[in-house]
């Protein structure tokens, strides 16, 4: 009547408009129930969701075929056993506060379930609590496209390593952490620059095909052979085919994530227009794996708004064996669905890094524990009524599910036969732990030769060296041995404690994730992913002395070298392929030329390039410095200037640093070009360009200034961070 537009109530709910599963009543009931350990109130919460919200979800169309003779409740699998299948969602430290992140970890470790680090890394102090009574170490460590803080220690702290291919709420996009949430302590854990937005690349730069994914799975298995490798996919049409590929690639767990998942900071266009409910993706993945005889090779997990025992029962019936919860545990910890996760203003201290707001956090791990146990208890009640004893008996039992009787005419039109009537009744239907994927790790050079050769030296901490021949079928060389070093000494052994001198052609992922103390020297060349995730180790590669070509004019290592490197050094006497040092966050590298997209998304470290670069150099680079020898003046055109500036080397410390790195390169590789430059350094110097991100320069200078004014390192960083944020 007034001509005013009605509120839609979609992103911000409004009474009488779009229904929201989390509304004032369900939020309050869930919080009160878990805080007071009040199962009766929890039942009221689940009643509201199951009865009043039925038209909101696909599972709302379903009903159970309860058994004529129920199982006595005390014969149903125990709560303690069920909760081991429960996980919390991958919410990074950075997206949520330290308090919230640790509460989730503590809770899941208390229960014997698993919390997920998300993709923001985890501080070494927390990793060290693993196995202690106050265990704040997340059991699942995520490896996402940003590779933030993915170090050897990080990988070795995991019981499960999850490769995030996509997120349910925003398939096809990487994680987003707005700059105002990148406080110094977050930047430290992520090896990035305070105050600078972190946008994870949409793809993993080491995965452009299913074979690449198989390689990453293999890398991670070598990096921590005890961990299960999980691949997170999202519910979308065709996910079954992808899941089949993932199962063949050796993953042990496949997570199907639904579009209802939180991702408070996802773009709205994605929240509303991308992804599908977990019911669809889960059913498709389960069925496709059955049809291809692969279902027993993997555990299927699902998440994306599992809120009640009924939801979990339906997920199990549709094929899920493990179950993830994210928003609900956060709500128990105080989240009231403000939907301001992207603004750093969460008034409950959950999705903020602001120290003042974090003081308001009132969650306790016990609340999450109560929630998980309530879900398990409610699930048990359904299991009893369905006449089953264990979750294993429930998995894939779609005969226990039917379309609800009292559907409205409109609801009746929804065809759910592809979920319920798939004709796949009598096939083996769940993970068979006796028939896992065989990575053939015992056949690797690491297991057969390297680890054995260094056994004594490793035990005694003495330095040692071996020489081996390698072939390009020796993938992830040194990674398994690196894992042994990390487990025993961490990443900070003295440089060159262990040296492996290799001759031949290195396979994919040569020296991936190797920690400090390990040096791998390669006479020959190497395939893609050279030094992936380098964690302190040193890599040296140069052509065989007998070769007659000019090293500086030839490609010596493949694409995506040093992707996600966090520290360490690499000296490459030749040209690297494309995507060199993408997502480098702390390693130092000297190379004699790179292909396209060099230093993309880099957040730290030093790169010296003694030759030309390809196009799109330094795109998305927000930290670290690159020195490029620009003899033919191509750089300016090839540089992606969005975030970086290109300057002459004018400061003495830059000049000293450059000279020292070239000197080290020459000593390590014998580089002819390096020698030439050093012999005539003053003539070469004007041809060098320094590439540095604007914000990185501003904040580095501000930190320096703070320190000169007498602040300690940490205070200087915080002061510089606030200065940067305020200046926007």
């Amino acid at each position: 009547m007034s001509g005013e537009l009605e509120s839609r109530g979609s992103h911000k709910s409004r009474s009488g408009k779009e229904e929201h599963l989390y509304n004032p009543q369900t939020i309050h009931a869930l919080q009160a129930a878990t805080r007071n350990n009040d199962y009766k109130l929890f039942k009221e919460y689940s009643r509201m969701l199951n009865e009043e919200m039925q038209p909101v979800s696909i599972r709302g169309l379903f009903d159970f075929n309860f058994a004529d003779t129920p199982t006595p409740l005390d014969e149903v699998e125990s709560i303690d056993s069920i909760v081991r299948r429960f996980k919390t969602g991958a919410m990074s430290y950075g997206s949520i506060s330290q308090e919230a992140h640790e509460a989730l970890a503590l809770a899941m470790n208390m229960l014997g379930g698993k919390s997920n680090s998300g993709e923001g890394g985890e501080s070494p102090e927390r990793l060290a609590t693993k196995g202690t009574k106050h265990n704040r170490c997340s059991a699942i460590k995520q490896v996402a496209s940003g590779r933030f803080g993915v170090t050897s220690t990080y990988l070795n702290s995991a019981d499960e390593l999850q490769i995030k291919m996509a997120q349910g709420a925003k398939p096809g996009e990487g994680g987003h952490l707005p700059g105002m949430k990148v406080y110094p302590w977050i930047a430290k854990t992520r090896h990035s620059t305070p105050g600078v937005s972190l946008i994870s690349p949409p793809p993993h730069h080491d995965i452009y095909s299913i074979e690449d994914l198989a390689q990453l799975i293999y890398d991670l298995k070598n990096a921590n052979k005890k961990a299960r490798i999980s691949v997170k996919l999202v519910s979308e049409a065709g996910v079954g085919t992808v899941a089949a590929g993932v199962a063949k690639a050796g993953a042990q767990v496949i997570l199907i994530s639904g579009y209802d998942g939180g991702t408070g900071a996802a773009p709205r266009s994605s929240i509303y227009n991308a992804g599908l409910p977990w019911e669809l993706g889960l059913a498709e993945a389960h069925q496709t794996l059955l049809l291809n005889g692969l279902r027993h090779k993997v555990v299927i997990e699902t998440d994306g708004k599992l809120m009640t025992g009924r939801d979990v029962a339906i997920a199990a019936i549709l094929g899920a064996e493990e179950f993830g919860f994210a928003t609900a545990p956060l709500v128990t910890l105080g989240c009231a669905m403000m939907r301001v996760c992207n603004l750093d203003t969460c008034p409950f201290g959950v999705a903020t890094q602001n120290p003042e707001l974090r003081k308001r956090f009132m969650g306790k791990p016990e609340y999450v524990v109560n929630f998980m146990r309530f879900i398990a208890e409610e699930l048990r009640e359904y299991m009893a009524r369905l006449g089953v004893h264990t979750i294993d008996e429930l998995i894939g039992r779609k005969d226990l599910l039917k379309k609800r009787d009292n559907l409205s005419p409109r609801e009746q039109q929804i065809d759910v036969s592809a979920i319920l009537d798939n004709g796949l009744d009598d096939m083996p239907i769940r993970y068979d732990e006796k028939d896992p994927y065989d990575f053939k790790l015992s056949d690797t050079l690491d297991e057969k030769v390297i680890i054995k050769a260094f056994k004594k030296a490793l035990r005694e901490g003495k330095s040692a060296q071996i020489e081996i021949d390698v072939r390009n079928t020796d993938r992830s060389l040194g990674t398994a041995f690196g894992s042994e070093i990390t487990k025993k000494y961490g990443e900070n052994l003295k440089d060159d404690t262990y040296r492996i001198i290799c001759s031949g052609s290195g396979g994919q992922s040569f020296g991936a994730f190797i920690p400090g103390g390990l040096t791998m020297e390669l006479k020959g060349d190497s395939n893609d992913y050279f030094g992936k995730g380098l964690s302190g180790g040193k890599l040296i590669v140069y052509p065989d002395k007998k070769s007659r070509f000019k090293a500086e004019e030839n490609i010596i290592i493949g694409n995506v070298a040093l992707y996600g490197a966090t520290s360490g050094k690499a000296f490459i006497n030749g040209i690297a392929g494309e995507r060199f040092c993408v997502r480098n966050s702390g390693a130092t590298a000297v190379v004699e030329g790179v292909g396209e997209h060099g230093c993309e998304y880099m957040t730290g470290g030093r790169v010296v390039i003694l030759g030309s670069t390809g196009k799109n150099f330094a795109a998305g680079m927000s930290g670290g410095i690159a020195y490029v020898l620009d003899e033919h003046h191509h750089l300016y055109k090839r540089l992606n200037k969005e975030l970086v500036e290109c300057t002459e080397l004018s400061e003495q410390k830059d000049i000293d640093e450059l000279k020292a790195l070239i000197t080290e390169h020459v000593e390590a590789t014998g580089s002819e070009k390096g020698k030439r430059i050093l012999s005539d350094f003053d003539a070469y110097l004007p041809k060098f360009k320094k590439i540095i991100p604007h914000d990185y320069r501003i904040i580095t200078e501000a930190i320096e200034e703070g320190k000169q004014n007498g602040l300690d390192e940490d205070s200087a960083k915080i002061e510089a961070f606030y200065q940067l944020i305020r200046s926007r």
Binding site: E4, H11, S13, R14, P24, A336, M338
Partner: protein, 486 residues
């Protein structure tokens, strides 16, 4: 959305009140507005919650949390912060026919539910609303807007309290011809005579009634439906009848000596003051006065407080307010967290004033009247009070207040005011229309409906849901569920 950091940058600022000394000299509203800049900052404090509890109006732990009208609070808070007053007014009036009333008298369920209040002070939602509506009147945006077309349907609304007025407003906007019947001499029901002028100045009601009249609503005062005009007559003249007569049947006290001279219902007392004030500027002898009297008020609710404030202004000698239940804690108890309704001790204006004038809080808890003693002329002289003890009823599990033997005390009382709530509708109207009642004498309907047991007769407000808040009455009267009337 405006400034996401507003709630951290600005503190809550309430409208300043005049001192007690100053304000008890008159019967007018006693808060002064803050500046526009300050008001914008208060708007900026709104956090634009994904799930705004303030506007939900849903029961949480047995009490309604948030606005029953579902006012679009976050939206107009934002518009206030931007200084977009007209847009703010447009969105405010989408859900609320009478912001001028609610912004003065509502206990602000929105603020109790405000997420800002979970850790600190809630947004000044009610004061923001006040500035929006008053700006709208100043700027002429609230001027009459008669419907462009008429349906030709005639509707009678019986009762001109908030629900009746809301029904009249909504139905008139839909083009129906509405006539409102009021038995009293002035329009407004409890808004006019139940709520003292200090909380709601009566010209504010008049201002809105004038607008409604200009928009085509007819008001007939001094006509008591069921007495002056029969139900049949009304039904023959109108297509529909809406009964919105309130829950005006006051709860009595059953004590020895109740018949004493000097015992009044609170509504009658408050009405006499307001009526005399409007009629003759409170000429002595034209109203029930508490001047120089020892006053005893039974009932610790809002009406009891209004009686306290009125008695203070009359110049009472002493004021005691009895509350049967124990005193509530001053801050939220651990088992009463946000967003539940805060079960805390609220000290309202009257109690504040009594404390300032007489030196102590007028409230006495866990106490009730046992007996009233009159003098030889039947005039109330004393009251015997007795202490109560809370005991849990084995059968129902509820708390029961049980008198403590031997705890009796006697106090001097000249005026006793009963502010013990209301029981339900008055029977002469419901009898006249022969509508079915429920066990609490509210007019019976199907849940969510306003249709009574009698064809063409509808009901709304306290008469329908029992005694409640003005804001509920407005919601009831907004007839959201009354699609049959279209």
């Amino acid at each position: 959305m405006g400034n996401p950091n507003g709630f951290m940058e600005y503190k809550r600022q309430d409208n300043p009140a005049y001192t007690v000394e100053e304000r008890i000299k008159h019967y007018n509203e006693f808060h002064t507005p803050i500046s526009e800049t300050e008001r914008k900052h208060q708007g900026e404090r709104c956090m634009h919650c994904g799930v705004p509890f303030c506007q939900a109006g849903l029961p949480i732990s047995g009490m309604v949390s948030g606005c029953p009208l579902n006012n679009l609070i976050p939206e107009w808070n934002n518009l206030v912060s931007l200084g977009a007053w007209k847009q703010a007014y447009n969105r405010l009036k989408m859900t609320n026919s009478f912001p001028e009333f609610t912004s003065r008298v509502c206990p602000a369920l929105c603020e109790k539910a405000c997420t800002c209040g979970a850790n600190g002070d809630p947004v000044t939602v009610r004061a923001n609303e006040y500035d929006i509506i008053e700006t709208a009147y100043q700027e002429g945006w609230a001027a009459p807007q008669p419907p462009k077309q008429r349906t030709g349907k005639k509707i009678a609304v019986v009762g001109s309290g908030p629900s009746g007025l809301a029904a009249a407003d909504q139905l008139n906007r839909r083009g129906h011809c509405v006539t409102v019947y009021e038995r009293s001499d002035r329009v407004g029901g409890l808004l006019m005579y139940g709520i003292p002028n200090m909380k709601l100045e009566k010209h504010i009601i008049e201002r809105k009634i004038n607008v409604m009249e200009a928009e085509g609503v007819t008001f007939k005062t001094g006509v008591n439906v069921g007495v002056d005009i029969s139900a049949e007559e009304l039904l023959s003249q109108y297509d529909r009848v809406i009964l919105a007569c309130g829950a005006s049947h006051p709860r009595d006290i059953a004590v020895e000596g109740r018949e004493a001279d000097g015992v009044y219902y609170a509504v009658d007392f408050l009405k006499s003051t307001t009526k005399a004030m409007l009629d003759n500027g409170l000429k002595v002898g034209t109203y029930i006065s508490a001047k120089d009297k020892n006053v005893l008020i039974i009932g610790g609710g809002d009406t009891g407080n209004d009686c306290v404030g009125t008695c203070v202004r009359h110049g009472a000698k002493s004021v005691i307010q009895l509350e049967m239940m124990p005193k509530l804690p001053d801050t939220r108890a651990e088992n009463n967290p946000w967003p539940e309704w805060p079960r805390v001790c609220k000290t309202d204006y009257g109690q504040e004033e009594a404390a300032a004038v007489y030196g102590s809080d007028p409230r006495v808890y866990q106490t009730t009247v046992k007996k009233l003693i009159s003098d030889e002329n039947g005039k109330l002289k004393q009251a015997v009070l007795v202490k109560l003890n809370a005991e849990r009823d084995e059968a129902t599990g509820r708390l029961k207040m049980v008198p403590i033997d031997g705890s009796e005390t006697t106090v001097d009382v000249d005026l006793l005011l009963i502010a013990a709530g209301f029981l339900g509708s008055e029977s002469y109207v419901t009898d006249a229309f022969c509508v079915a009642l429920d066990s609490r004498t509210n007019v019976q309907t199907e849940t969510g409906s306003h249709q009574t047991s009698v064809d063409r007769v509808f009901t709304a407000g306290d008469m329908h849901r029992g005694q409640s808040l003005v804001v509920w009455a407005i919601r009831e009267g907004s007839l959201r569920e009354l699609s049959q009337s279209d």
